[in-house]
């Protein structure tokens, strides 16, 4: 099993840290992983993206041009990455701020209204709601390993926030809905 994921959105949405939690969760599950960020000028105030690969085999290329799953959190990323989802793959997005919704008929499309939900409680849990949505539609990681990945990723001084983050993951799992039937 190999899962090749792109997570893309604005800088500050927690794209890179969400990818890191996914990668660490993969390690906790005994998988091979890679995490490759965009680190160019675009991350300084613009778009940010990270390629995460989880596999039961050693990862060859950390850089890809097609993805099993695209997690898309702004319009620029939708325009760029929707065409790069493999046929039969998954596109998960937050429709907040999206002006052109995904159109492909050969992939499964899911929506998680994470920004609106996070605004009700704590904007910082936005990315964990999205992560919950992903874990619901692509249940390749055991939740206990995700919890362990969270512990590994968050600095210890922030460990009191783990219950809040786990709650956000559960919220995302409930919120996510399928937009089209493949």
């Amino acid at each position: 099993m190999t899962e090749e994921i792109i997570i893309a959105g604005f800088g500050g949405q927690g794209v890179l840290s969400m990818g890191k939690i996914l990668a660490y969760s993969g390690i906790m599950q005994g998988m091979e992983v890679s995490w490759m960020p965009s680190y160019g000028p675009e991350m300084r105030g613009g778009t940010a993206n990270v390629t995460v690969i989880l596999s039961d085999k050693p990862v060859s290329s950390p850089v890809l041009n097609h993805y099993d799953t695209a997690i898309i959190l702004n319009q620029q990323s939708m325009d760029k990455f929707e065409p790069m989802v493999k046929p039969g793959g998954i596109l998960l997005y937050d429709n907040n701020g999206i002006t052109r919704h995904p159109e492909r008929a050969d992939i499964a499309i899911y929506c998680v209204e994470a920004a609106v939900e996070a605004a009700k409680t704590d904007p910082r849990i936005f990315n964990m709601i999205v992560l919950g949505g992903y874990l619901a539609v692509r249940p390749i990681l055991k939740l206990e390993n995700v919890a362990a990945g969270l512990r590994k990723t968050l600095p210890e001084r922030h460990h009191q926030l783990i219950p809040l983050n786990r709650q956000a993951i559960s919220t995302g799992m409930e919120l996510v809905k399928e937009v089209n039937k493949k």
Binding site: E32, S34, M36, P37, G40, S60, V63, N65
Partner: protein, 353 residues
Amino acid sequence: MKELRLMKGNEAIAEAAIRAGADAYFGYPITPQSEILEYLADQNPVETTGMVVLQAESEVAAINMVYGAASAGRRVMTSSSSPGISLMTEGISYLAGAELPCVIVNVARGGPGLGTIQPSQADYFQSTRGGGHGDYRLLVLAPASVQEMADFVALGFDLAFKYRNPVLILSDGVIGQMMEKVELPEFRPRRKENESWATTGKTPGRERNIITSLNLDACIHEQHNIKLQAKYRRMEEEETRCEAILCDDAEYIAVAYGASARISRKAVEQAREQGIRAGLFRPVTLFPFPARELKTAAKNAKGLLSVEMSAGQMIEDVRLAVDCRIPVKHFGRYGGVVHAPGEVLEAIKTFQV
């Protein structure tokens, strides 16, 4: 089982320097390698192993601090990215001329000039042909994973002291910035022994040690150069390292190092799925280039593809390795653009028409 950590290549190289028993690191920030200095400053190893970490006022200052510490026989490392390495090349030439051991890390970015901050492999000529003035070579290691970023630091120090020569770890923005799981090497103590050649204060019973790259007598300097060349030939005999994957029955072989080797490996897997007999040859040392090993690996090949994020630099060594008897093509995006596996696969397929 050892603890597995998820780390960036840059962080791994920094942690590995502490664990390799380095005495000192001198550096100056530049993207995409700044995490090396940041990580070391954060760890503050002077409190634990006694390793000195100092942000110099410039790359020129950093490399000359390296010269000083190396003259005292200490394990010393510096790091930079392409434009910063260019600034250091005068000092690197002096280090090579004075036969001083050190580890230099280049996490390369797109050039020429200030270029871009994105990954590149366009420093191959600079790295493998010396870089600065004079007839000298660096021993060049090319890591292709975060694990190798960690492992090559101690190896680099060992080779640097074995040959009394600077060792260059030539990485790129992909390997420096990506995170993978890494098993960190064991801690090694810092060196206690004094090198017989080092300038550590003259003791009775031996001549003064003089560290210099200057000789006013050309005949003496020619002899020094002949000695250096003999050293480089010995490296070519003893230190080539490489990895050959699926080359035995391969009709087409991608030759690639660093990030391009990882990307090409995926292209080779995809080619095999499509029934194309492709292989990957990965030089791990760039100088000495594993020419004999490549010649052997390519004995059944009909075409070699030099895949590098440059306009084609390593391709010259690839052609020389096979005496131009097999068609050799170049493929690579450059100037900071990273090629995707699919692009490499298409380039492999061009041999079939």
